[in-house]
Amino acid sequence: MIEMHDVWKVYDNGVEALRGINVKIDRGEFVYIVGPSGAGKSTFIKLMYREEKPTHGVVLINGVNVKRVRDWKIPHVRRKIGVVFQDFKLLNMTAYDNVAFALEAIETPRRKIRPRVEEVLELVGLSDRMFAYPSQLSGGEQQRVAIARAIVNNPSFLIADEPTGNLDPENSWDIMYLLEEINKRGTTIVMATHNKEIVNTLRQRVIAIEQGIIVRDEEGGEYGYED
């Protein structure tokens, strides 16, 4: 469960990216974050995986106040959260190694790595491309690898910042069906997006942010925001 209480984020240069956010996202939900450019969507996402600290207010991840967590414990908070970006952020190694890298980084025992990587690559539909390098994969396939990496550790949340921003419509839909599938298996999904077609077709909860304020929060809502 993710909760935000009167959260403000003011960047060093004085930009007020978020101005008093109150929100509660329950286990197993699927939430779209929409809003114009510069509204604060990415900032909202960054607060959730503790890339940024709130300037004011409280962010709770599964009941833990993220701001109070000691520096050395932050990694443990992050292990509950998988993150996916528009630009994939894959390393120049095979799909298998990219996913295994995430498990190694959290010191998973060696014998457990291989079966888990294979399992998750199967889930995202890349069993047959396991040893391909990113440059040999289509954008859609690369995003699948990134998703596999994000969920390999069985996080409670999967957070995505415009995951289909770089993809053509066809690949975008494939990714959306995959996210839906992952959501059905119990993972909470929060996804910032500009893609009107997807939001209006695959109806879910929609949180619209504008100028750092939540202007609409609607179950099964449409894409769009004021003005």
Binding site: Y49, D71, W72, P75, H76, V77, R78, R79, G82, V83, K89, L91, F101, A102, E104, A105, I106, E107, P109, R110, R149, N153
Partner: protein, 300 residues
């Protein structure tokens, strides 16, 4: 930490060194130069301490006698001196021996050069060498002898040598320390910059590690190992070089062991002290370098 993880850290550190091979080489060289200078300095420092210690033990006062003294008068003088409470031992060194030492000091040419100075022509005075009970009292005793009623022309003691040695060593120490400190800083910054390059080269990996929740130390370890590696590898050459040079010095100055001033510290005790110090400093410089770059450039 698990063995697997440890192996991984070492592998990653090695990859870091390999990736910036030239820069690592430069950093290792800088460390080596620094430690070489530091090593030479240590050899001097240890030996000077050793020598002053030895000198203290051997400190002696040389009282030149007036030429006109008869052997009887000389013997009496010697007896009087031996009777002084501060004196441990005293002995007469006749002028023939003075000439002999001088000839030897001139080597090959000496025999010819000082030919004809034997017997009456001998320009050296007879000397009484006095050993004080307590080296600290040397100066007082020398003054006492200088004020001795008659028979003594001039009193010398190690003062000049010891003082000059200590003065010189103080001066050398300061110059070397400043120079060495500068070099050590330089070396540490070189290491920190090498590691900065590694960090830049790995920024994507680091970003991913942070994202997936790798612990801070998991991310930092390879960089510390890399720094320590550079520092320790940089210590190998200068240690070897310093010890080999010292052995050479010992061998070639071996003849001098009779003279107190050249009594060098034996290889074994010096070797252990110096090697340990050099390696410790190398590792310290490496750690310092890693720390700087990890602190400044590794955003976790």
């Amino acid at each position: 930490m698990k063995i697997d993880t440890m192996i991984r850290h070492f592998r990653e550190a090695y990859r870091g060194v390999r990736r910036n091979a030239w820069m690592s080489f430069a950093a290792i060289s800088a460390v080596a130069v620094t430690l070489f200078i530091f090593g030479i300095f240590l050899v001097f420092a240890f030996n000077i301490r050793y020598m002053t210690h030895e000198l203290d033990k051997q400190v002696a006062i040389r009282a030149s006698l007036v030429p006109q003294l008869t052997p009887q008068q000389q013997d009496e003088l010697l007896k009087n001196i031996k009777a002084l409470p501060k004196v441990k031992e005293a002995k007469l060194v006749p002028k023939e021996q003075g000439l002999k030492i001088m000839k030897e000091a001139w080597g090959e040419d000496g025999e010819e050069f000082f030919a004809g100075l034997e017997g009456d022509k001998n320009p050296f005075p007879d000397v009484i060498e006095v050993q004080p009970k307590d080296p600290q009292q040397t100066e007082e005793l020398a003054k006492e002898l200088d004020n001795f009623p008659n028979g003594i022309e001039r009193v010398d003691y190690g003062e000049a040598v010891t003082d000059r040695l200590l003065n010189f060593s103080g001066w050398v120490r300061n110059v070397v320390l400043i120079f060495g400190l500068g070099l050590a800083t330089l070396a540490a910054f070189l290491i920190s910059n090498t590691i900065k390059l590694t960090i830049i080269a790995r920024r994507q990996e680091i970003e991913i590690m942070r994202l997936v929740g790798a612990s801070n130390w998991f991310i930092r370890w390879p960089f510390f190992i890399e720094g320590a590696f550079i520092g320790v590898v940089g210590a190998i050459v200068p240690t070897t070089l310093v010890l080999v040079l010292y052995q050479a010095a010992l061998t070639s100055l071996g003849a001098g062991e009779q003279y107190a001033i050249l009594k060098l510290m034996p290889m074994l005790s010096l070797g252990i002290n110096v090697s340990l110090s050099i390696f410790a400093l190398g590792a310290a410089i490496g750690m310092l370098g890693s720390m700087i770059s990890v602190r400044r450039f590794l955003k976790i």
